[in-house]
């Protein structure tokens, strides 16, 4: 359009564009939480170097706990973002799938014996089997969504319902327990490294996805398919396969998260492990400002969203909020964040800010 540009806007565009950036909301939420915690308890962020019972150096403190506990959620947020972008729906079976992943891992390590003296297979083999199994379950969801065109929530409801039973069945409903200390490395500490291993694994996953998004066209394809599958197909993309593959990728994320989970406790409780984590993962995507109806996504914002959720939980715990009341408190904060990041609200906000300027511009124009 040739019509005149509005000069006053240009000057402020830098500041404005910062506010408009999708990642602004999760960052702002994090900052608010940080400031709030600093004011109420200046020692909230204190990180100390301690020695654990095995005599190894470990970092302790709220910050470390937050980063540590958010790891699984951050990893899941990666896969959930891709699934959301490509299929315009969410996988609600990830919690149940984590139970399966953990159960498979323990089954491979324990064999038929619930309390084995020695591991029946190398840990790495157990991990790989766990990955394959989880990706198969991801493929199952993906097939239903991509090829049978079932709505994602309905398709994944199947595994959501059946998953924990399947997990229990894999180990004949026993609760295996592994005493081998090296199995706990992935969920706790590797001797000599003071940073909790889950944090390192989460960082590794982020690096991998960053590389994948940089060196493949996965990002472009998932977004194109999510926005307009017809057009994508006519440009040579196979929309069904792209949707399918995002579920498989989420399966891989589930495997990693599940492995960390069982490693943390060296055992599993089928009905409790990773309970409701699917909702937090979806929430992370939403907090990142991504449309749950698919299309454009911002991976970094989703991952930050995951940390915001964990930060919030830990903060509430630090305030001695009763664990049964915790979800209610969380809900209030989530409502605020989601409303703030909703496009309608943002539009209203910009419209409010814009009005006086527009009038000024009109005067100038005349």
């Amino acid at each position: 359009m040739k019509a005149g540009r509005l000069e006053p806007r240009e000057k402020q565009s830098k500041l404005r564009s910062l506010f408009r950036r999708q990642i602004f909301i999760p960052i702002a939420a994090l900052l608010v939480l940080v400031i709030f915690n600093l004011i109420t308890n200046p020692s909230f962020f204190a990180v100390k170097l301690d020695y654990n019972s095995a005599g190894n150096p470990v970092f302790t403190g709220n910050l470390v706990t937050i980063l540590d506990n958010a790891s699984e959620l951050a990893i899941l947020a990666i896969g959930m973002t891709l699934v959301t972008a490509a299929s315009g729906g969410q996988d609600i079976s990830v919690g149940a799938a984590i139970a399966i992943a953990g159960s498979v891992t323990l089954r491979v390590l324990c064999g038929d014996n619930a309390r084995p003296e020695t591991l029946q297979a190398p840990i790495i083999v157990a991990f790989l089997v766990c990955c394959v199994a989880s990706m198969l379950f991801g493929a199952f969801n993906g097939t239903l969504v991509a090829y049978f065109k079932i709505q994602p929530m309905v398709a994944t409801l199947i595994l959501y319902t059946a998953g924990r039973s399947i997990a229990a069945w894999i180990n004949n409903n026993t609760l295996p327990n592994i005493s081998e200390p090296s199995f706990g490395y992935a969920g706790n500490f590797i001797p000599g490294i003071p940073v909790p291993t889950p944090i390192l694994i989460a960082i590794a996953c982020m690096i991998v996805i960053a590389l994948v998004l940089k060196f493949t066209t996965l990002g472009l394809y998932t977004q194109a398919v999510g926005i307009n599958p017809n057009s994508s197909r006519l440009n040579g993309i196979n929309p069904a396969f792209i949707k399918f593959i995002t579920y498989v990728i989420l399966g891989l994320c589930v495997a990693v998260a599940g492995f960390i989970k069982v490693s943390r406790f060296s055992t599993i409780n089928y009905s409790v492990v990773a309970k409701d984590i699917e909702m937090d993962a979806i929430l992370a995507v939403a907090l990142g400002g991504n449309a749950l109806s698919g299309g454009k996504f911002n991976m970094a914002a989703s991952i930050l969203g995951a940390y915001v959720i964990q930060f919030l939980t830990t903060t509430l715990y630090a305030f001695n909020v009763d664990s049964s009341a915790l979800p209610a408190y969380k809900a209030v904060v989530v409502i605020i964040l989601v409303v703030l990041s909703a496009p309608t609200f943002q539009q209203k906000l910009t419209r409010l800010k814009k009005k006086p300027k527009m009038a000024a511009a009109a005067k100038e124009g005349n």
């Binding site: 359009m1 509005l6 940089k214 307009n228 009109a362």
Partner: protein
């Protein structure tokens, strides 16, 4: 208010980030007149309509309606409907998964319950009186685009409206259907309804309109009585310059077609697809521009879709460059140098939320493959190259394509295919809903491509346009090819006769 006016808009201003879309625009609509609103893409026609119908909030100005004291405040489409302003948009905005009757009465029942029987009966009456070939209980999505458009009009007409806005209603209708619509418009005019008619078709304006208001770059150029404004002047007012370009663009075109044996670029033999076209043969040579013509639903789009692998083929073979190739999916065709610009830009062409840049590089990126992404810098370079070459008007290459005007969106899709450097380009209705300036640009581009030795298939509802570009026309009727015209046979009359049937031309 002026004597006899039903609607007056005064000093309307509307701003978008960085752009003055409307500046101090006046518009007056009188009782019982058909008033054409003309202008290039981006001139502000759609914005003015959207301000009037409450889709956009105006930043300045006043709207007056007959029978209402003072300025009316229209804040939502619902408000507009309540004060008697009905709209039929260019893009169909009905719900395809509801029935025809439901679409006609949606959000309009005053009582709380729905009387389904009465609703269907009433819908049936309206449809019959307007001669629309649809059943009230039929799902809207199963009707052709033309019928859907007419249902939208029927919906608007049935509402007790004083002002009827038709935004490009004819762009997806064929000649017969257009005449039906005109008859309807003239009927309404007699009843005293004021009709605002937005269109790109000049002939249609001169056929039915009483007055013309011309906008350019968001400003009012003027209001004219139709007799006082000859066509050439109208066009020059819209473009803001005298137009020599309207002259025969075919002149500079060499029209050289490689007639040698190796000159055949693509050849199809007894091709048929799941879309239900009868098996057909087709051939195109290097440097040739040909066209498929026929009424809506005659199978012209389905034929080219089969060539591109967009619809699964059920029989037949395709030879490209003399070699038999298998084309199961679009990517196969793309790898053999075929490009396809689809008929429905919004549904099949653009990827709305993605940037202009991503939209331009999409096809090339897919051809390069999953593991070889185009770097950001390179993508920007490609995008800029084509933004400059095709003069795409966009704030930046980062702008989502959906915020561009229709013509500029179409240029982006053209750029997408030009970037892949195809040897054979299929353009299905590339100029639909696009202003004259851009239309001529696209026509010129087609001929230039042919001169560069590429082959082009050009499909358009406007025979005029086909005559300007194509050297050979394939005529289709009832999903099969009924004739092929070239040379001296390429006249409007001959084409019409072949489309209509009777004596076969081939």
């Amino acid at each position: 208010m002026q004597e006899g006016a039903v609607l007056e808009m005064r000093g309307i201003c509307k701003y978008f980030p960085g752009v003055r879309a409307l500046q101090d625009v006046d518009f007056t609509l009188r009782e019982g007149e058909i008033h054409a609103l003309m202008g290039e893409n981006g001139a502000g026609k759609s914005t003015l309509i959207k301000v009037l119908t409450g889709v956009y909030e105006k930043d300045n100005g006043e709207i007056f309606l007959k029978g209402r004291e003072g300025a009316v405040n229209i804040r939502s489409p619902q408000d507009a409907q309540n004060v008697g302003i009905s709209t039929v948009y260019q893009e169909i905005t009905l719900c395809p998964n509801l029935t025809v009757a439901e679409n006609m009465f949606i959000a309009r029942t005053k009582s709380k319950g729905v009387n389904w029987g009465a609703m269907n009966r009433r819908a049936g009456e309206i449809l019959r009186s307007l001669d629309i070939p649809a059943a009230p209980t039929q799902q809207l999505g199963s009707c052709s685009i033309a019928v859907q458009q007419m249902v939208a009009i029927a919906r608007a007409v049935d509402m007790e409206c004083k002002v009827l806005i038709l935004d490009e209603p004819t762009s997806s209708l064929d000649e017969q259907e257009v005449q039906k619509l005109f008859k309807l418009m003239l009927d309404l005019k007699k009843k005293g309804v004021g009709i605002i008619f937005v269109t790109h078709f000049l002939e249609q304006v001169y056929e039915v309109c009483d007055r013309i208001t011309v906008l350019r770059d968001g400003q009012l150029v003027g209001e004219y009585v139709i007799e006082d404004l000859p066509r050439v002047q109208l066009v020059s007012k819209m473009l803001g310059k005298d137009l020599d370009e309207m002259a025969d663009i075919k002149k500079e075109h060499t029209g050289e077609v490689d007639m040698s044996e190796s000159g055949v670029v693509l050849e199809a033999h007894q091709l048929a697809s799941v879309a239900g076209i009868k098996p057909f043969d087709f051939q195109i040579r290097k440097g040739e521009v040909n066209g498929f013509t026929g009424l809506l639903g005659s199978g012209r789009s389905e034929s080219v879709r089969a060539l591109f692998g967009a619809d699964r083929t059920t029989s037949g073979t395709i030879k490209i460059g003399g070699k038999t190739v298998k084309i199961h999916k679009p990517l196969d065709a793309m790898k053999h140098g075929v490009g396809y610009l689809p008929e429905d830009r919004k549904r099949d062409g653009i990827v709305g939320d993605l940037s202009v840049r991503d939209n331009i590089i999409l096809a090339m990126q897919v051809m390069r493959g999953f593991f070889r992404p185009i770097s950001r810098a390179k993508a920007e370079e490609y995008a800029q190259e084509y933004i400059n070459l095709l003069e795409i008007k966009t704030a930046s290459s980062d702008t989502p394509i959906k915020s561009l005007s229709g013509g500029n969106q179409q240029k982006c899709i053209l750029a997408r295919w030009l970037l892949t450097n195809p040897s054979y380009l299929i353009l299905d209705e590339p100029t639909r809903g696009i202003d004259i300036g851009t239309k001529i640009e696209i026509q010129k581009l087609v001929l230039k491509l042919a001169d560069e030795g590429k082959s082009v298939t050009f499909i358009s509802s406007e025979i005029d346009e086909m005559l300007r570009t194509c050297s050979r026309l394939i005529v289709m009727r009832d999903r099969k090819i009924v004739g092929e015209l070239k040379g001296e046979d390429l006249t409007q009359a001959k084409i019409m006769a072949t489309i209509a049937g009777g004596e076969s031309a081939s």
